[in-house]
Symmetry: C2
Amino acid sequence: MNKHPCTPPAPGDNIAALLTPALVVDLDAMQRNLQRMADFARQHRLRLRPHAKMHKCAAIAKLQIAAGAVGVCVQKLSEAEALAAAGITDLFISNEVIDPAKLTRVAELAGRVTLAIAVDSKLGVERLALAMQSAGSQIDVFVEVDVGQGRCGVAPTAAGALAQQVVAHASAGLRFAGLQAYHGRAQHLRSAAEREAAIHHAASLARAAQATVTAAGIHCPLVTGAGTGSFTFEAASGLWGELQAGSYLFMDRDYAENQPAPGAPVFEQALFIKSQVISRGEAHAVVDAGHKTYAIDSGLPTVWQRSDLTVTNGGDEHGILHPAPHASADVLPQLGDIVWLVPGHCDPTVNLHDHLVAVRGGLSDGVVETVWAVDARGCVS
Amino acid sequence: MNKHPCTPPAPGDNIAALLTPALVVDLDAMQRNLQRMADFARQHRLRLRPHAKMHKCAAIAKLQIAAGAVGVCVQKLSEAEALAAAGITDLFISNEVIDPAKLTRVAELAGRVTLAIAVDSKLGVERLALAMQSAGSQIDVFVEVDVGQGRCGVAPTAAGALAQQVVAHASAGLRFAGLQAYHGRAQHLRSAAEREAAIHHAASLARAAQATVTAAGIHCPLVTGAGTGSFTFEAASGLWGELQAGSYLFMDRDYAENQPAPGAPVFEQALFIKSQVISRGEAHAVVDAGHKTYAIDSGLPTVWQRSDLTVTNGGDEHGILHPAPHASADVLPQLGDIVWLVPGHCDPTVNLHDHLVAVRGGLSDGVVETVWAVDARGCVS
């Protein structure tokens, strides 16, 4: 339905030729990030199932799987369908689906790929079982536990009863796969000690949940969760068997502001917005990228490697640059200059774009190596 | 490049069948808004050129034009190209373009449609003239004046000199069309008196700019600008000849919080997110719509006609509902219930979606009348 008049860039184009604003991936940095996380998971004998809600791109998911990931997570059914249509065969919808019409599609999808889903209610399990009953296929079911996020998930004490419910529907194709235990709010606590404490608490809640499952006579095969801000702590806990981090691949301003965790792999910024100065005042410059180009739910972007410039909100289509408090107006870029921005939050920024331009050789003189479709862009249902 | 697996709804579908989350337009409300603004412009003998950056949809632009609008504004070249490709023939890019490669496309587009553009620099005029020179067509050029927004636009004292520059390039096809004078920051000052004062000040700056144009011996055909929060004041000024309001058609939570201006037409909320409760806690409910479904640059959504519920940020794909301070937990919707949200800001919310589902007969029992493509979704370049 989308009718973009702009021809996307082609492999071989110089980075200088990219029209602004453009969402650009530094391929060299991304591949180092990819390898560092794959190495970390391998060294810690943990499964890695990166969250594809970040990139929504089957080509990138395939690179992650080729490097050792067991599959990917998604957050929505339509995301799973889009990635399955593009060739991804092992998907975990790490979220609840309650609509019978959608659950029918979940069951259909479970017949085509290895599929898992999260549940946190008796109604959800019953409806899932009803949908699966007639499909004749199997689905892995994770009971989601609220381990501090305060969003979805049952209380730890209720996990065993819900696992029993799942097991009771084994004949419908439901296979109890373990616990979904993700603490989203822990990811951006700025000090490593705060994040460690939050995951320590999450682990105690997940262990309590696991105990109720065991007490119900059910084997709990796996605890899955963790994000880019906290995964070293989940890994150290001995409890989680699978890591779901996603942002590590591209990174963003928000994660860059975290104090690194001791011993954590270093991830480089790999996602950028190429923008251009389209207006200059005496004490400010205006670039052609606003919050229709980068998401600002986690704050504004920064200018890459330019601490002498600050960005303020210029609306949907503009960003306004000022000299930082210690800098003079001389540092402002001139009319027509290119300005590289680091988005505040990678996931919803990628979701604004139809493609990712992957560049080899850096931002100043790189060449487009490939253009990736954001296959599941806008797939919110 | 977009491969949505979800079949969009079809005309005739009942609103109950729409999968969540869905972006829904109440057609009855929208058409009343459309008519009220058209009537206002007609009664005040003003040109109406609604800003299509809000809906990015050619079908809606055609309805506006059929009701009397002279054409539409857009904010980006690629938006203009997308709407031109879908049949819109009178477009104003109310923004600066400085890249020669884009200006070549501006010139090409000017050969296919009636096109106008804004400028605020000598370099911009020179590059535009260079691009137009070889195209052999004409373009209307508005000198943008900063009337309080602090973003793009020349100082009022510099308008005459830039208009002279435009006129000097008449042989290249540049036609000085007047002044672009839009005060974005005035739109959401909450009291009508504050907005009136801001536009009063903007008018004094625009008049000063106009005087420098006249002093340069140049006729200033038109002052164009105004938004949904302020247009009654621009209309009353006797200075502006064209109104660019866009949000009036759909409205949003942010505009609803404005104190109405005296004598202003009343615009109804016409844009909604249909969402569903996918998880329930003892004291909160979680819906399946987060900030990948609605933009939060102007704050969170509210629940339509439910002042007993509050919405907090649940991340990319979740919204969290709590009882309002005066309400009990009994008011929370149940698992599976439908919840209608009013987005904080209509423009970037529409830009997240590939289509708008237009429903006749209200939210409780309406029927899909049409599904509109968001033709220029993601067109940021």
